[in-house]
Amino acid sequence: MDCKQCAEDLTAFLDGELSAADSERVRSHLGSCPSCSHELGSLQETANFVETHTRTLELRPGSWNLVRARITTENAPAPSRFWIPNRWRLAMGALALAAVFGLGYLQYQHIQERNLDLYISNYIEQRKTQMEAPQVMFSGTEENPYGNNPFVEIKASFNGNPFRSEGR
């Protein structure tokens, strides 16, 4: 083990985070390296200084009561049997929304088709009525008796005029 590797492991060594084998290697290097031993001492001194001079907060008396009041009124442990992870809830919500939109669109299409059928059948019915309506001939001098009836086709006659024909 060289000094660079030892220096990198010193904090973990101080914290007892190295394996037994690695700790032994560091310990062995420290035994023969005054520089790394000094580095270890310096790190230890810093750790002690920080720990000694770290301001610590104490819980305020009655702090538990505040927590307790909230967990007994607001919350209860979630029942595991029906608990659904949040990501599944999101996916299920998206699916439900898509289903609602899909069904709505199908219903809209259905209504449109029904309206078109109704319109076509009405149109056919209207045309049939028009075709069956009586054709009335009148001279144009007398009053048109069907003037206000939209279902009666009115044709004027132009007796005696050879230059005028019906439809012009």
Partner: protein
């Protein structure tokens, strides 16, 4: 020298006893949950305090953490991982609240509306002179920790002050063990650089 020798656990409760309390709390036993609170609340409070640098915010977030923990306790699969899970939730609350703004610099002596100190400090001072010097050095250490980059501050606090193992810290912050080991080492070097001139005091 090594914190890992401090069995049973840095929280001072044996794992079997803690597992039993967790099992009972999962079934809705409030008294068991109170015991868990009494074991861990102070640690969580101080961790959050280091992160947000405000006693009243730390107290508020600690309360939020323990309400959320009770609510989600049923989802904890491995009871032996309770402590890192707890700190992870606390950390999430810290980041939720402080994502868009830098940590507060409210004074430790902040008073509430009744003129009382919001959160009590542990009193370890002996005489006025000593107390004055201790206070000054406490300010130095607090400033040094608060001045660390966020990434280093949380791993430093969790390792040097809350004495979590590196694996537990990796679980809390969601990073790999080698990355945690490197960051803790760099954080310690940074702290040493900043407190060097005070070491002789």
């Amino acid at each position: 020298m090594t914190k890992k020798n401090l069995n049973p656990g840095s929280s001072g409760i044996d794992p079997a006893g803690l597992a039993k309390l967790i099992r009972k709390a999962k079934k809705g036993d409030i008294e068991s949950y109170q015991e868990i609170y009494e074991v861990f609340a102070r640690k969580v409070l101080n961790f959050i305090y280091r992160m947000v640098n405000s006693p009243e915010e730390a107290e508020d977030l600690t309360q939020e953490t323990f309400v959320a923990v009770y609510e989600k306790l049923e989802t904890l699969k491995d009871d032996s991982k309770f402590e890192p899970w707890l700190f992870r939730i606390a950390r999430n609350f810290v980041y939720q609240r402080y994502r868009t703004r830098s940590p507060s610099t409210v004074s430790i002596d902040a008073l509430d509306e009744n003129g009382q100190q919001v959160t009590q400090l542990a009193d370890t001072r002996k005489n006025p002179d000593e107390a004055f010097q201790t206070l000054e050095l406490e300010d130095v250490v607090a400033d040094v920790i608060a001045g660390l980059p966020e990434k280093y501050r949380e791993v430093f606090t969790l390792s040097a002050l809350q004495h979590l193992s590196y694996q537990e810290i990796a679980d809390v912050v969601g990073r790999s063990l080698p990355s945690i080991k490197t960051d803790i080492h760099r954080a310690r070097l940074e702290v040493r650089k900043r407190v060097k001139e005070y070491l002789k005091v």
